[in-house]
Symmetry: C2
Amino acid sequence: MLREDPFQESEAEFLKSYDASRYPRPSVTVDMVIFTILDKPQDNYRKLPERELNVLLIKRGGHPYLGCWALPGGFVREKESLEDAAVRELQEETGLKNIYMEQLYTWGDPDRDPRTRVISCAYMALTDAENLKLSAGDDALEAKWFALDKKLLSESNLGETKIQEHLLSFTSTGFSCKTLLEKTISRTGKMEKTHERIREPEKREGIAFDHARIISYALDRLRNKIDYTDIVFNLMPEFFTLTQLQQVYETILGKELLKANFRRKIEHKLIETDQFTEAGHRPSRLFKYRES
Amino acid sequence: MLREDPFQESEAEFLKSYDASRYPRPSVTVDMVIFTILDKPQDNYRKLPERELNVLLIKRGGHPYLGCWALPGGFVREKESLEDAAVRELQEETGLKNIYMEQLYTWGDPDRDPRTRVISCAYMALTDAENLKLSAGDDALEAKWFALDKKLLSESNLGETKIQEHLLSFTSTGFSCKTLLEKTISRTGKMEKTHERIREPEKREGIAFDHARIISYALDRLRNKIDYTDIVFNLMPEFFTLTQLQQVYETILGKELLKANFRRKIEHKLIETDQFTEAGHRPSRLFKYRES
DNA sequence: GCAATAGTGTCTTTTAGACATTATGTG
DNA sequence: CACATAATGTCTAAAAGACACTATTGC
């Protein structure tokens, strides 16, 4: 092997003299998109509450984007893996631990952060409403759940290019904001290229950095994965009714499902219990997830 | 907004005095898993050639892992996005351009590179055999296509933990090597945790760094995506027969499909031409991809 | 009884899977 | 004709979709 070495140097020697500062080194952060399902406040006591998908945001207490809402996250430390950093930030900033988490995508545009070159590795985490009490009472940080909604506003075709406008809405008690995302799908020959950018409102309002885009990406991933994995059960408490489960599917997919068909399709993933809920109407049987 | 600023400082002032060296800064690279489909050499002139999935590797000419085979890739420059870096490396190291590419996953274990902390953002690229002539004749770099095969060797259950052994084989003219991957799936309550590591052979042989693991991940992604996207057509030339297309499905999925059913399923994605192949048997109609 | 929700039955259409048969070229 | 591959037909089983109906609670 040494014969092949152009520098006549052993690997040990090489490593000893390696200069790590030869290449530019960006900062690396992890950002967490944390989803949960929360009940919408409901007036009629006999009606079931509607449910909404919520994302956790933290109010920025420093520059840049002071006062805007941002994803929880932070810099990766020298001796920790990306996943360890994500777990640590989750715990530090929200108190949540041991919840479902997966790596989403890494954003690395040179100008996505005005401070310096920051590459962000985004993770998606899911939790059920039971865990949420933990997230309160953290040190000085203002964290809030925002009901998330994404709507396709318009779609236009200009020859080989398709442009979609999506409106993301974030709603919380006392505050709400919207972001307009523009998705461009252009085709040259067989190659398809997709590009998404934040169009409105002014970047200085509402959601910090490119975080709206990251949240939008996470929602797409969740929508996709809900029908070929069991990911949805990470949003559910241990025991739940079929109607509750169906509502979660409906909020995430953004469409209504037929009850009988839904039940047939989901049945094999569930264990029936002999517990029931009580309410101003017929009691509903509780189920739990059947690990496969 | 200024009232909320604890430092009574404007954002412009803040940015001017921002010290980017406050946090440790790892090196960031992009690595490319480039797949194509190549014919296996065939003796009987009347028989159709078998086809294999190939991955492009480059022989390392320097430390570390001198003489081992590695994914093409390199450091991300200061003023370029991750995707730009991937496109540039692809072009520089292989001559390939304008081919399908998607971000795969980001690997960031602190000790995955013996030189220094290196975070690698991996991309998967696909190309058809037509483009391959371009990849030859590059400067001094020895690049080779390796036929890739992944087999499940064993699977064992120890209570809540499942361990799988996968054997990855890389075969090229004049060289071949194998890597044993161990996948551990453990469950604590509802949480499932998956961990994969390289077990054999000695890390210093064959495939450099953790690249075997990255390739394995890419193959899994490709297998998955083949049946819910049109990704496979990026591996095909413009015109192809149904048998050729079926062979590509079969090599990627690692199983045989029934012809009649395959045709029925794929039909709507294709445009029939009135061109035919010639051979020592019945001619076969050529099709092309119907963009949706 | 009525409002509200829970849960079942059944018909149709679509898709997937297995397998048999026919067609068309060359040597 | 034998060999090799191409292409189609048909039967069955499973899954998806639409819709109508019955059941059980509190007031």
